[in-house]
Symmetry: C2
Subunit: 367 residues, 2 copies
């Protein structure tokens, strides 16, 4: 049975747009964006890999007379940099892109972040659309308007809040997603369940086999619920001044693990999974969360594993965590679950608690 | 007599902030921004030249315990580039700037544009303040939220709309402004008068001597009125979808002159003055403006001259004008005065009219 196309609204103070989830969405793009009768130019940013797999399918949606111009960003975190953004802006300019042009970011999280940032700053902002091709990008990074690039000294230190005009999360495109990347994305969906959607959590707890088996209906259920959760949170707190911070569950130590391993050993979702497991230690030891619930959360995370090992030291993680940009005016913000489907942001996690959690995760990850 | 400090409000859909105009404003900055009791970090972006002249005065406004950290951008259009923005972002990160930090852009238009853009994209946006030190920056570029950098293929092709928290236009700092730069800024004030403020125009028509003599009261009158005009226009049309386009009077051919002379022969304000004179030719020949009024406008512009000559050809100007990013979906937008204090945006200026005006200005500029 082919699941139908769903439209999930994102409504924030500055934007209002749909996230479409379903099968075979590419063919819908021009019509749903009203491009058929528009003279506006369309540009696509993609990675060579995604383009070779799915480019033809995307192009087929456009009439020959209005074929988009394709720009490429090589795959890999090291291309998520200002120099690439500048090169792409120059390519847009040379190809005649103007303020009315539309950019389609067609790829994983890096293409989405760089494409969104490029759209945010090209001629002080043009419209763009997200067509995420990884599960992680579908359930997380394509929704909410965060765009950006890395500096040598840290990830995502430059960027803009710039919402897409629409997001097309096509389940079909996940067919070619490597298994490890599927799992990495699913960790973010487990996170969505833990912090705000107990029903999603329970579904993921019970249906790991069909989800990992990529059964369309199961995947659609997970993707839809994850996006709904994020859309709701972003709608309430667009600029991450309050509620949106709960999305960072697992991210304080997760980011530290990524940085300490130079973004080479783990995928983002995997580092976040390790970060969530470490955060559970803190939550249980300070009594925020009961040990039974922590056990259930850990088991759910692990059912989407295996979590690849990594080698580091608690010291290195703490060093890296100190540079986590989530900290404001010296406060160490930390997200802790209060149960299944509920989380809280605390500011009083001590260095000692962080140290214990870091030691624990370094030990676990060595096995 | 020392003129008092005036506060001109800028109110747009996305921002609401004051532009202060007066003498000796530096000392007011910490208090008016509420920095005295705040633990937030303050950073200053300046040029080495401005810093050597006025840096000590700015620093004196801050208590020793809260001295701002100073970053530098070398003077010159060629440093208004992404590579510099990236370097400055890395310096902010290394110096510990976080989302609550404040950046003061302390310099001319380039420092203001780059500083504003840096603030727009550092950690997806931090607050900043404009302290413009050239007349052009005071009356034009520091107000309205346009920020950005150049690409090799064109000026201001990347950037953001990011409003400052306040603007401090200090008349005292103009004491050290070279005469040519004073005149270049005054052309933009003449423009303000022509397109929307007949009283300002008449004042500038009659008081060129005291204005060019930098009499404080006369300068304050001109600066205040220019800023009021811009604040009003930007308040009505923040994103330049309508009214704000009138600010581009003189800019279609002015930008073309700048580009065709590789930004070397003329200051921005001078190129705009030439562009206004050329636009007057079109306005008169199509009857938008009477010849007497055109004569008055030309005389007012010239009273703030001399306008430096430049060498180019009509062909080169037209080529450059074709690449003016102000054109949207193939339309050639052109601002023409309809009288003193009134202007209109037209879309039907023909290539032949442009050619005639370009030939005229190239001939005039050769003398």
């Amino acid at each position: 049975m082919k699941p139908s196309i769903r439209s999930i609204p994102v409504k924030t103070a500055s934007a209002d747009y749909p996230v479409y989830v379903g099968h075979g969405l590419f063919a819908e793009i021009p019509r749903r964006l009203g491009l058929a009768k528009s003279p506006r130019r369309v540009f696509v940013l993609s990675s060579p890999e995604i383009w070779s797999l799915w480019g033809e399918r995307l192009l087929a949606a456009f009439p020959d007379t209005a074929a988009p111009t394709v720009l490429f960003l090589p795959a890999g975190e090291r291309y998520k940099r200002m120099a690439q953004v500048e090169r792409l802006a120059a390519e847009l300019a040379k190809a005649g892109a103007d303020r009315s042009s539309l950019l389609i970011a067609f790829g994983g999280g890096i293409v989405g972040d760089v494409g969104g940032f490029l759209a945010a700053i090209y001629m002080r902002g043009i419209e763009y659309v997200q067509v995420p091709t990884t599960l992680l990008a579908q359930v997380d990074s394509s929704v909410g308007g965060k765009t950006g690039a890395n500096l040598a000294v840290g990830k995502n230190l430059i960027g803009s809040f710039h919402h897409p005009r629409a997001v097309f999360a096509d389940i079909e495109v996940l067919q070619t997603l490597p298994d490890r990347e599927l799992r990495a994305g699913l960790f973010e969906s487990v996170k969505a369940g833990v912090i705000r959607d107990a029903a999603l959590f329970r579904f993921m707890e019970k249906n790991a086999d069909s989800i990992l088996g990529r059964e369309p209906a199961a995947l659609q259920r997970v993707i839809e619920a994850s996006i709904r959760m994020k859309a709701e949170v972003v709608g309430i707190d667009e600029r991450e001044s309050g509620l949106r911070m709960i999305l960072n569950f697992g991210h304080t130590l997760g980011h530290a693990i990524e940085a300490a391993t130079h973004y080479r050993s783990l995928l983002h979702g995997e580092a976040i999974a390790w970060g969530m497991l470490a955060a559970l230690q803190i939550a249980v030891s300070r009594g925020t969360l009961g040990p039974d619930q922590a056990e259930r959360i850990a088991a759910a995370i692990e059912s989407y594993g295996p979590l690849p090992p990594f080698r580091s030291t608690a010291d290195r993680l703490l060093d890296a965590a100190g540079r986590d940009k989530k900290n404001r005016a010296g406060k160490r913000r930390f997200v802790l679950p209060k149960g299944i489907g509920d989380a809280v942001v605390v500011e009083d996690v001590t260095v000692a608690e962080m140290e214990t959690a870091a030691q624990w995760v370094v030990r676990q990850a060595r096995r």
